[in-house]
């Protein structure tokens, strides 16, 4: 009887595995289609979307070559700006909000509570509420370049980061920090040599969430950056599709593929942290 039940359960699990294997194939199919179509001659992308690029449909690397200089703006430049903005903003956010989060959790006076409240409040404010005034403010303060836009990201994205850091620090006993203070260690040294290493898991979680947000963000950089000089990958792709009447779909797919590759590499190499970070961000946020 027990044997019988067990084999029945095993059978059910096998069926589930097969079902999910098929579902997983369906899940990666759109990305495979991008790969297939990036090697296809433009005119066939729309008519023969689902067939392999064989015979006269095969375009070789032509789409990639064409895509690189498409729309009078080198794609490589957009990619570099995307990297610069994502890394610069994430580093700035992590450094500043970790300090602020620690300060708020430990000092915990009226002013700190007010900032914390505004942070939580900022998390429910949609970007459209501030987009017009924010882009004007950025213009006036000359924060409209890839080197200065991290300040904007810090300002608009501080809410969630501070929220997560405060939550984490409150769960950490402060005896170690106090011991350091008694031994004559100043707050700055305490922060960098004691607190920061303890914060490492939260730093990774927040970092992952910020990277995913900023790398893919379209509207904020589109409105804030001086568009005649600077583009990021999402802006570049939207620009090609939006402003050209008939678009070279093959070349667009080649660009999309090139923009997905670094993301997939990032995902496969930090997968464990990414999934943990998302779970942590959601549970606390």
């Amino acid at each position: 009887m027990a044997q019988n039940l067990n084999s029945k359960e095993n059978k059910a699990k096998l069926i589930l595995t097969i079902f999910f294997a098929l579902l997983a194939l369906i899940w990666v199919y759109p990305v495979l289609l991008v790969l297939i179509n990036s090697f296809k001659v433009n005119t066939y992308v729309k008519t023969n979307t689902f067939s392999f690029p064989v015979g006269e449909m095969f375009a070789g690397f032509q789409n990639f070559l064409k895509g690189m200089t498409f729309g009078n703006y080198p794609f490589i430049k957009s990619a570099l700006y995307s990297f610069l903005i994502t890394i610069g903003s994430t580093v700035l956010i992590l450094l500043c909000t970790a300090m602020t989060g620690w300060y708020i959790a430990r000092v915990d006076d009226k002013f700190c509570r007010l900032i914390y409240l505004i942070c939580v409040f900022s998390m429910v404010v949609p970007f459209q509420m501030v987009m017009f005034t924010l882009s004007k403010t950025a213009d006036v303060l000359k924060l409209n370049t890839p080197w200065t836009i991290p300040v904007i990201y810090l300002g608009f994205g501080a809410g969630l980061a501070i929220f997560m850091f405060v939550g984490f620090v409150k769960g950490v006993p402060k005896e170690i920090e106090e011991a350091a203070a008694i031994d004559g260690c100043g707050p700055v040294r305490t922060f960098f040599s004691i607190v920061l290493p303890i914060l490492k898991p939260t730093l990774i979680s927040v970092g992952i969430l910020e990277i995913m947000w900023i790398w893919n963000d379209y509207l904020l950089p589109y409105l804030v950056l001086d568009r005649t000089k600077f583009m990021t990958i999402p802006i570049h792709i939207q620009y090609l599709k939006g402003s050209y009447g008939t678009v070279d779909l093959g070349a667009t797919m080649a660009l999309i593929l090139m923009s997905i590759i670094p993301v997939i590499i990032f995902y496969l190499s930090c997968q464990k942290y990414i999934i943990k970070g998302v779970a942590a961000g959601a549970v606390k946020g």
């Binding site: 699990k13 096998l14 589930l16 595995t17 999910f20 294997a21 899940w27 289609l33 992308v45 729309k46 979307t49 602020t100 300060y103 708020i104 000092v107 505004i118 429910v124 404010v125 949609p126 970007f127 459209q128 509420m129 501030v130 017009f132 005034t133 924010l134 004007k136 303060l141 300040v151 904007i152 810090l154 300002g155 608009f156 994205g157 501080a158 501070i162 402060k174 920090e177 008694i182 707050p187 700055v188 922060f191 790398w215 893919n216 963000d217 379209y218 990958i233 999402p234 792709i237 939207q238 999309i256 993301v263 997939i264 990032f266 990414i274 999934i275 998302v278 779970a279 959601a282 946020g285």
Partner: protein, 310 residues
């Protein structure tokens, strides 16, 4: 917790840390505070103020006067495209919240039943989240048009394709994200409670509805909240997949973009041809903010009541 141990000692020690920390407050909270004012507080206050003015840029704003204080808001409600976008967004969000949560929970539940390859499946299902909304939109517009071109139509030509197309896109993107949260919740269900249910002879269905679901209520709260606000705030995917098409030209000259959602409608009002409508656009943005914030709060307080406190 150490917080509650020996009050007097704690008080004394707190002052040891607090005072020097406060001295360094310009370093610890200064930069964040400055950026926060530039990037959020000031634009928010200014945006709120501008909704009561007439303006093309921020420097030429003219106060509407107390008699016409709410003119921009009245205009927003009179705008058929805004009302259409509201109902369209509401319908879209309801459908997407239900589909995404039911499917994500089902997948998470199945993957926590110790089946082979569940880690690999988890990795695959989450993957679309790393791709940005604009790129997602163009990937799926290629796929849908690849199918629809054989039927001599396009996703840009019929509202129903635009609606369901965006639903499919959003499911593909967000099921994996919500699945991760549900898996974390399901793994936290105490094993002894499940064991007790099994010994008492509960069926799998009874265990699921009476033990598992009440215990993952916090996850359900979070996911419902997230999908709800994601649905209402959706912009990139909407812009890239259909951009509001097909357009419906009314007899009075106004245009209703049939698949345009709220965020895109506000954007188009701000940056469209008619720059004198920017006051209306800002009023729409304030209404949008109130809606998103209120929904979050209502929904949160409603589901929190049903959570099982551990």
């Amino acid at each position: 917790m150490s917080k509650h141990s020996s009050g007097a000692k704690r008080l004394k020690n707190e002052s040891i840390m607090k005072k020097p920390m406060k001295r360094w407050s310009p370093l610890f909270i200064g930069p964040t505070l400055v950026a926060f004012v530039i990037g959020f507080i000031w634009p928010f206050i200014r945006g709120f103020g501008l909704s009561f003015t007439k303006f093309r840029t921020t420097s030429d704003a003219k106060f509407l006067g107390f008699g016409h204080l709410f003119d921009n808001y009245v205009n927003a409600f009179k705008d058929p495209s805004f009302l259409h976008a509201f109902w369209y967004t509401a319908l879209f969000t309801i459908v997407s919240v239900i589909l995404i949560n039911v499917l994500a929970f089902a997948v998470a539940y199945a993957l926590t039943q110790k089946i082979k390859g569940s880690n690999l499946f988890r990795t695959v299902f989450f993957m679309p989240n790393l791709i940005g909304g604009i790129v997602l939109g163009y990937i799926w517009s290629m796929i849908f048009d690849g199918v629809l071109s054989h039927m001599n139509t396009s996703i840009l030509l019929e509202t129903k394709y635009g609606f369901w197309g965006l639903i499919v896109l959003l499911c593909w993107q967000q099921i994996g994200y919500m699945m991760i949260i549900y898996i974390a919740g399901l793994q936290a269900v105490p094993e002894d409670m499940l064991e007790a249910a099994r010994i008492d002879g509960a069926t799998k269905w009874q265990t699921l509805t009476k033990v598992t679901i009440p215990n993952v209520m916090p996850s359900i709260t979070i996911c419902t909240f997230l999908t709800l606000s994601n649905g209402f705030k959706l912009f990139d995917q909407n812009l890239a997949l259909t951009g509001g098409q097909p357009f419906n030209f009314k007899a009075d000259g106004s245009v209703v973009k049939t698949t345009e959602m709220l965020a895109l409608n506000i954007y188009n009002t701000f940056y469209g041809q008619n720059t004198s409508a920017r006051g209306t656009a800002q009023a729409k943005a304030v209404l949008f903010f109130i809606l998103v914030a209120a929904l979050g709060l209502i929904q949160l307080s409603y589901t929190r009541k049903r959570e099982v406190e551990q």
